[in-house]
Point group: C2
Chain length 121, copies 2
Amino acid sequence: MNQIPLSAINLAQKLETFPEHWQPRVVGRFNGHDLMVVKVKGEFVWHQHDDTDDFFLVLRGRITIRMRAGDVEVGPGELFVVPRGMEHCPVAQEEAHLLLIERAGTPNTGDEATAAVRRDA
Amino acid sequence: MNQIPLSAINLAQKLETFPEHWQPRVVGRFNGHDLMVVKVKGEFVWHQHDDTDDFFLVLRGRITIRMRAGDVEVGPGELFVVPRGMEHCPVAQEEAHLLLIERAGTPNTGDEATAAVRRDA
């Protein structure tokens, strides 16, 4: 990922390369952030990131982002940014595909001990 | 934009609110960056951003990002990040709709004198 690839990143193609849920794959970098695709289904864990906002763009399907202040429904072509420090719990009734952006190295659960290993797609 | 809106941002709906080309509209914020939608058609100007990478995600249509090292074609559901300091010139034969992410306050032409005013959608 250190050389500049002179081709676009096709998100659907990247998503076809793995079946697992809640295992983000890094597809690019941007200003010290990881650009990731992820498949989700079911309920994640309540967590928060104290040092980074959490960017969700739904590419396929629908998710609910539960927060203490209320739930946000996010459908295809919609994005939502969870502000840093805000507890949240993503939930998907059916499989959904997302583009995520987080500061590079952020544990996806907010906790190194339980975080998914961040792999390249 | 200072309060946290507890609803998702629908990018297509935001794009329906204006007709102009090359006039990005801010739809959200993320870690000191502006999240913007823009309609493009025709050829922009060659420019570079010395302090920020330049994130392009094509939502509809196709664009070509010309760079000195070669052209990159970016279609729907594809993204490309132009590294900071790299001269580039976006071109769209037909109207295309994009999600852009740049550090907040970045002039879209790389130059305050010629930049579009950054308005909220």
